[in-house]
């Protein structure tokens, strides 16, 4: 006997809230939101900066609600949501970049990072330091070093060469090293 859509998703994901939300249950969707909002907000804040993070996080969850019917349960819901979030963030970044004329693979664009005085507590400064990175370098650093994406995945997501991703990552790390050590 074929499973209904709701039951089928639940069977595959093991999460009744995903199936309920896909069927239109906003209370179940709120529970999903509560379970995932911190990770999604951290992603948006680190990739786009604090000013954009709240609005983009909301946009991501609204789109998630709209696209839930397309979720087939073939991957974990958290993986599906995270990928959707990354795509929304990248889309948003592109529109910012086009507006500001900053869409470039030119690593020379990374040279404007200001240097902070040396501090003992790296953890405290790290979030601020990431926020200081030029947008392209920040995007790749967050995806690779914070979120664990591979260069080949980043290259596909950002439509750039793998080598460009590697160069940008190295520049980002070197800038962060200089920032955090006060060099």
């Amino acid at each position: 006997m074929a499973l209904s859509g709701e039951t089928s998703i639940q069977a595959r994901t093991g999460d009744p809230d995903v199936a309920l939300a896909a069927a239109g249950d906003s209370s179940a969707f709120e529970r999903l939101y509560r379970a995932h909002v911190v990770r999604i907000h951290n992603l948006t804040r680190r990739m786009l900066g604090g000013q954009e993070a709240d609005e983009v996080t909301q946009d991501i969850f609204v789109r998630t609600w709209q696209k839930l019917a397309q979720f087939r349960g073939e991957s974990a819901f958290s993986t599906w949501l995270h990928r959707l979030a990354v795509n929304v963030v990248i889309e948003r970044r592109r529109s910012f970049a086009i507006q500001r004329g900053r869409m470039s693979d030119d690593v020379a664009a990374l040279d404007g990072l200001s240097v902070a005085p040396a501090r003992a507590d790296l953890t405290v400064d790290m979030e601020h330091a990431i926020d200081q990175l030029p947008p392209g370098a920040r995007e790749i650093f967050v995806l690779h070093d914070v979120e664990g994406y591979k260069h080949r995945e980043i290259a596909v997501l950002l439509d750039i060469a793998t080598g460009t991703s590697k160069r940008q990552l190295h520049r980002a790390r070197m800038l962060l090293r200089g920032y955090l050590s006060g060099d």
Binding site: G5, L20, A22, A23, G24, D25, S26, S27, F29, E30, Y33, R34, A35, V37, V38, R39, H41, N42, R45, R46, A53, D54, E55, T57, Q58, D59, F61, V62, R63, W65, Q66, A69, L122, T123, M126, E127, I130, F141, D145, V146, H151, K166, L169, H170, R173, M174, L176, R177, L180, S181
Partner: protein, 251 residues
């Protein structure tokens, strides 16, 4: 600094070099303290990035989302996929209802009360300032419930910057259980919107407790996280206490 080598250090760290390139870099590193120092700095940067603690959003974002998704016609259970339509996303506002603002005020009052608080007669009173985590959760600990960290009183002098944290504090658990029981008994005296606001805020606090505990399990020595956890637990206790007081005030 030898840029022809330092330029390869990220690939070296990520194991993205060929064996020949790797041997060449390692040979250079053996004789170059400056490049070794750069490599160590890069390792620190990567390690820091991989262990960044989660930080919850400072604003409540759900209300704006709820407003949006209600506009799609899927705000009620059972509406079904066929009824879904997709409006163009519009700029969001952070919206709060009056009861939510009132509840937020309750929480703010609770927070401003500081760390000096009392659970039962003459019992647990926080003394020193910041916190250090004592380790992973104990068996039977309820992630979303009442068994996370609270400051406990110690007779022995503590470091000025350290307060011990216990993960299974029986007094705290008992106090929360008592208040939850009292609230359950008295909830009939509260109007539905007040109950909804209290339950909503308890959900938020429980979620914050669970998030802080998860992060602390990965980084037990992080004093910011420990403080966040203690703060969240205190907020839960105070919110329960205030809600229970409301039930008796309406008698």
């Amino acid at each position: 600094m030898h840029t022809e080598f330092t330029d390869q250090l990220s690939d070296y760290l990520d194991d993205d070099l060929s064996s020949v390139e790797r041997d060449t870099v390692e040979q250079h590193l053996r004789g170059c303290a400056e490049c070794r120092a750069v490599l160590n700095d890069l390792k620190r940067v990567v390690a820091e990035a991989q262990t960044l603690p989660p930080r919850p959003p400072q604003a409540e974002l759900w209300n704006g989302i709820a407003d949006e998704i209600k506009g799609t016609g899927l705000g009620t259970k059972g509406t079904g996929v066929g009824a879904r339509h997709h409006p163009t996303p519009v700029p969001f506002r952070l919206a709060f209802t009056m009861p939510q603002l009132a509840a937020a005020a309750v929480i703010l009052v609770a927070v401003s009360a500081g760390l000096a608080w009392r659970i039962a007669d003459g019992a647990a009173r926080a003394r020193s300032a910041v916190i250090v985590a004592s380790g992973a959760a104990q068996p039977g600990d309820n992630p979303g419930g009442a068994s996370a960290a609270v400051p406990v009183e110690r007779d022995a002098p503590l470091s000025p910057s350290i307060v011990q944290v216990a993960y299974a504090d029986a007094q705290y658990d008992a106090a929360v259980a008592d208040l939850e029981k009292a609230l359950k008994l008295g909830r009939g005296r509260l109007d539905a919107s007040t109950i909804a606001v209290v339950e909503h805020n308890l959900q938020i606090i429980d979620h914050a407790i669970a998030q802080a505990r998860e992060a602390l399990a990965a980084d037990p020595a992080n004093s910011y996280l420990s403080g966040h956890l203690v703060d969240a637990r205190r907020r839960k206790l105070d919110l329960l206490r205030r809600a229970t007081e409301l039930t008796s005030e309406t008698d």
